[in-house]
Symmetry: none
Subunit: 243 residues, 2 copies
């Protein structure tokens, strides 16, 4: 069972009021790790406090990060909440399914929520292993940021009172920063060999690669092995030696 409480990560939130409401929703259901990625109006934001209705502790503890990657650096499991389906092939879960999965996972969990108007961008979603979509009325889907947070927090809280059976000792996935470093290492090698081509397609190519490497949930030891593999392939080749 995941001992850590999931982090709620608001990506480029626009209104302080919504940050406050999210904090209130979180604390109602026992969540208190709030992270803000590049909040539009800076931080602290005077509109957040009144909307938090007493959940000031959550706001005071909130941490601000310049990028999503930095905000999830210590997370072994990253979830992205989206409303619409996107051209990303990742598992999609309801908040209920995600909560159940989270309770079975080892390691830190981060859940991304996009900005009010536009939602998460494709590059934000690419960092996540799993997508959470709240099933809403297809004829009227107007879920706001704080509502999405409350539903996810509420579902998570359900699993808290129940005793969870101890899982087999699987190593938890490596923290996101270790995976990022490996991806960076590989991209750098590929770049040197002219893999990223043509230029307009580079973002798509990188996303495909990232999605594929995010899929396995490799643990730290596995990532270390892969780093060894990359370093080996980077070395001067025996053939080259002879030549």
């Amino acid at each position: 069972m995941s001992k850590a409480v999931p982090a709620i990560i608001l990506v480029r939130p626009q209104l302080g009021e919504n940050i406050g409401k999210a904090a209130r929703a979180m604390l109602n259901f026992g969540l208190d790790d709030l992270r803000l990625v590049a909040p539009r109006d800076g931080w602290p934001n005077p509109s957040a406090g009144p909307a938090a209705s007493g959940a000031d502790r959550v706001l005071q503890q909130a941490r601000v990060f310049p990028t999503v990657a930095e905000a999830v650096a210590d997370c072994a499991h990253v979830y992205a909440t989206t409303v619409r389906k996107r051209g990303v092939t990742k598992p999609v879960m309801t908040p209920e399914q995600a909560a159940q999965t989270i309770h079975e996972q080892e390691g830190g969990v981060g859940i991304l929520f996009g900005p009010e108007r536009a939602g998460l961008e494709t590059d934000d979603v690419a960092l996540a292993r799993t997508i959470i979509t709240v099933p809403v009325n297809p004829e009227f889907s107007s879920l706001n940021l704080a509502q999405a947070v409350i539903l996810v927090a509420y579902e998570w809280s359900k699993g808290q009172t129940l005793a969870q059976p101890t899982k087999v000792d699987m190593e938890p996935p490596a923290p996101q920063e270790e995976l990022e470093a490996m991806i960076g290492h590989l991209e750098n090698m590929l770049d040197k060999n002219g893999y990223f081509f043509p230029i307009p397609r580079i973002p798509t190519i990188k996303r495909t690669l990232r999605t594929l490497l995010t899929k396995p949930s490799w643990n730290s030891m596995e990532i270390r092995t892969l780093r060894g593999v990359l370093s080996t392939l980077e070395k001067p080749r025996h053939n080259a030696h002879k030549g």
Copy 2:
């Protein structure tokens, strides 16, 4: 299974904004029967529309009643949501349990929500057969009216088929021979660069690598991408070109 959609009954609501938010929360999860008992500021209320974010249909259809008894006159099953436990001996359910029960019931269902500040009075609760209490953090319980409505509506919607998120068509894992060919390709490259060392440990090293690459269940397209990655890394390097 109850064919009728439950009625959401706001008892003596104070702010038009909260009525609008409740309508929005309802319609997000497929509920549209809104009833108001003696709204403090009369009805219609100009603050309700903007807060409904497009759920105007629910507001236009809303019916106003002078008393709770009249509002629930056509309901076979009345539920009352309360935050605190009261000295009433009625069954208490979570929103989840109540939703399951409602889906099994025949006849109309009405769910009462109290005014913002004070909640339902004992006489209101007396009309209900069952109490719904949202389990919140005992150290911070600050659920507002619209939040209570959304959680109840959300749980109800789970039993409706309208609501399942479309699963992403995840490609099945590639046939084993494709995976084997990729592992063979990588092993060959690593062998050339002296990765497999010392000799007695080679079987273990290969097993580690295989375990790690079998974990993701990559599909055929992903395997093809990875083969492209390997071929790129195999090519003469730009540096070598220059040398």
